[in-house]
């Protein structure tokens, strides 16, 4: 067993070599989502057209993960920064990467208005049902009964309301003629890749895309590998994994 291996890991061109060892916690879903995104960028050859914006949230740890031009923004503000870029420089494939808190709570006015206006960008939302970066508080998507730091006795929906469903909301407000809206899961990497590809293709063609990815946060969930995947399964049952609006469907209309 030689120590130095003769092969290199399968890192996409759009992914930085130095941060192959990313700053995310062990087992964190952000890694899976981003490596898949990087592969898709390679495949679509968008490396020079893409601009990647990351939110504050654990997503900020990706500030030097992608080997494409990247800007780290403020909590909730990745959407306006990125549509600011694409408005000023059309042809840019803008990607705004954020958590469920950044997207559905503090940044929801931008999410909603960018969707309605059909800004030319991909909003990519990693839903791990909590606020990872700040130590695991309730987020809009926290599951009923889920224990978090601000729901220490489990989320009581009679007080907090039911979990927010991002993709369903965007599907209801986005312009079906130019939008791609889907929910995917890191539990199905092949599916995720397909979705990201469709989403980025739509953006490259001038459209608006929203993709919510069901993700995991073993650190704050305090789960081991098995429990993590079990919870992800539960999420997949609760949050419907599907394409809500696709360019294909558009053509059918």
């Amino acid at each position: 067993m030689a120590n130095v291996l003769e092969v290199k890991p399968d890192l996409a061109q759009a992914q930085c070599a130095e941060v192959g060892a990313s700053k995310f916690c062990p087992g964190c879903g952000h890694g899976t989502i981003l490596k898949t995104l990087a592969q898709v960028i390679d495949e679509l050859n968008l490396n020079e057209r893409a601009v990647f914006g990351c939110d504050i949230g654990c997503s900020l740890l990706s500030w030097n993960y992608m080997n494409i031009d990247t800007v780290q923004t403020h909590h909730g503000r990745t959407t306006p920064v990125i549509y600011g870029v694409t408005r000023a420089n059309p042809g840019t494939v803008g990607i705004a990467y954020m958590g469920d808190g950044g997207g559905l709570a503090i940044g929801s006015q931008h999410l909603v208005n960018a969707s309605v206006r059909g800004e030319n960008m991909l909003i990519l939302l990693a839903n791990n049902t909590n606020y990872g970066m700040t130590g695991g508080q309730m987020s809009p998507t926290t599951m009923p009964g889920q224990v978090t730091e601000t729901t220490p006795y489990g989320r009581d929906c009679s007080i907090t309301g039911k979990p927010a469903k991002g993709a369903e909301m965007i599907a209801a407000i986005a312009d079906p003629e130019k939008s791609y809206v889907a929910r995917s899961t890191m539990g199905n990497v092949r599916g995720l890749k397909k979705v990201l590809k469709a989403a980025l293709e739509n953006v490259a063609n001038g459209g608006f895309s929203f993709v919510e990815v069901l993700s995991v946060c073993p650190n704050n969930w305090r789960t081991n590998n098995i429990k993590t995947l079990e919870r992800l399964k539960e999420m997949e049952e609760f949050f419907e994994v599907k394409e809500f609006i696709t360019p294909a469907k558009k053509e059918e209309v």
């Binding site: 130095v4 291996l5 952000h30 590998n225």
Partner: protein
């Protein structure tokens, strides 16, 4: 200038000729964070954390915790572990 992927030397584990010789299995130990998601996802349950990792620095991961290794006999080289790994620590190379 970015250090290119070619410049970096990766250390780790190589398991040759898994899947009846159809593939080689690699683990880049300085990328592995011992999350063991690959272990849970392996369809034939052949992947395991190394119980007593040796100290030559190829069996301890980024956080100096044991990395994983497949059972040469059982591994079918399907690549699920590679796809699963959030940190690109595994490569299954078909021959």
């Amino acid at each position: 200038m970015t250090m290119t992927k070619e410049d970096i030397k990766y250390t780790g584990i190589k398991v040759e000729n898994v899947a009846k010789g159809k593939a080689d299995w690699y683990l880049f130990n300085k990328l592995c964070k011992s999350c063991y998601l690959c272990v849970a996802k392996c369809p034939v349950k052949c992947l395991h954390p190394i119980e007593e990792p040796n100290k030559d620095n190829s069996e301890l991961g980024l956080f100096e915790t044991p990395v994983v290794k497949p059972d040469l006999e059982k591994c079918i080289g399907c690549g699920t572990c590679q796809m699963t790994c959030p940190d690109c620590a595994i490569k299954v190379q078909r021959k």
